[in-house]
Amino acid sequence: MADKSNILDQVLAQRQRVAGRLEEIKRIVAIMSGKGGVGKSALTANLAAALGMRGWAVGVLDADIHGPSAAAMLGARGQGVAMGMEGALPAIGMADVRVMSMDLFLEDDNTPVNWQHPGGLASDTFVWRGTLEANVLREFLGDTDWGALDYLLIDMPPGADRFETLMRIAPELSGALVVTIPSQVSHLVVRRAIQSARQAGAPLLGLVENMAGLADIEGETIQELFPEIGAEAFATEMEIAYLGRIPFDPRLARTTDAGRPFVLSYGNTPTGRAILALVQKLEEVLR
């Protein structure tokens, strides 16, 4: 007598598919914060584009299921997902960055991420939504034909819960890059996210301070945007490497909206140089 569904075997096969796919990926980096609105996604898009321009094969997995933005920021919207012989083909964004995002599946700009609940009550969805969305992450990792990659960057959503899921699905994670902004509230949330990532067993690559000042478009000066509160000291306290500060440049907002990562056009500006310096540090850490 056998289980016709072979549910256990199916789950094991899923894990093997993910493991097989990840064998072709040399480095997997999660870009996380815990806090929303710190510029994780724009930073991910810029890091990916910069790595791509430096000759690396790069993919971006948009783990923000309900607020997907990676495809838009990398100019990959409108391509959709195509099914190939080896899996789902990721969209191709700027600098040849391969992108997988929930955005690519949605019918149009007005369609939110909603899950069907056949035969059930809409009020029951809370029972299974978390499991299902964890499996979206698994399918993105295991069913995407990423090909051979030097770097897969995972743009994590706000909150720390999805990080533990990621660690369970992809224990091969090379490490997490933690993003904060100069704000006590941000540090409070990021502090908890760091502890959560540690508890999940994630190697922490370092802390980067985003929106650290406002870059003058005309020159090289950096004005204060938020009060200086000492991210370097915060990193020391949290026993995590401090990887630098990235000032905000208003053109970054425009280029991000246009789907053309800032570093591709403005690499030789204070913000562009800070992003490129971060890329070099990541390359060194993950050599």
Binding site: G78, M85, D96, T144
Partner: protein, 146 residues
């Protein structure tokens, strides 16, 4: 979950599970290995959905099912766009003139443009991509800068 046959004091064994029409519940049958007495447990919608949310197929639908890429997302997501499949046609060939024109674009957009024009040509059923088809695709896709 396990069940005991009280008469035989043996743990019942799983026999089969049968999904209801619409997939809202499952009937999971167990039988005593000694006396063959059987019982069926009917799952409620929540339990069924928890199993489905694992991204597995259930019951008869699983017997010959090969795993499709993104099967769970495509099966559960409401409001999806059309997904291109391999059966929509092979990758069109790029003519030399088309490749030359592609090479004139900034290097960081070339891969993206190639994919967009390739998908456009497949959807239109074109076997090859020429500069004329690139112009047609550019207009159709609203890519005025490329």
């Amino acid at each position: 979950m396990k069940f005991l046959c009280n008469d035989c004091e043996r743990v019942m064994e799983f026999v089969e599970n049968t999904p209801s029409e619409g997939g809202g519940s499952m009937a999971i049958r167990y039988a005593c290995p000694n006396c063959e007495r059987s019982i069926s447990m009917i799952t409620n919608t929540g339990e069924t959905q928890v199993v489905r949310s694992l991204g597995v197929t259930i019951g008869h639908e699983a017997i010959h099912a090969a795993p499709e890429p993104m099967a769970m997302i495509r099966g559960a997501l409401a409001g999806q766009r059309t997904v291109l499949t391999a059966s929509d046609g092979p990758e069109p060939e790029w003519t030399e003139a088309a490749l030359k024109r592609l090479a004139a674009a900034p290097v960081f957009v070339q891969g993206m443009v190639r994919r967009l024009y390739g998908d456009y040509a497949r959807q239109k059923g074109y076997a090859e991509i020429t500069p004329a088809i690139m112009s047609e695709a550019r207009e159709a896709l609203g890519m005025t800068e490329m």
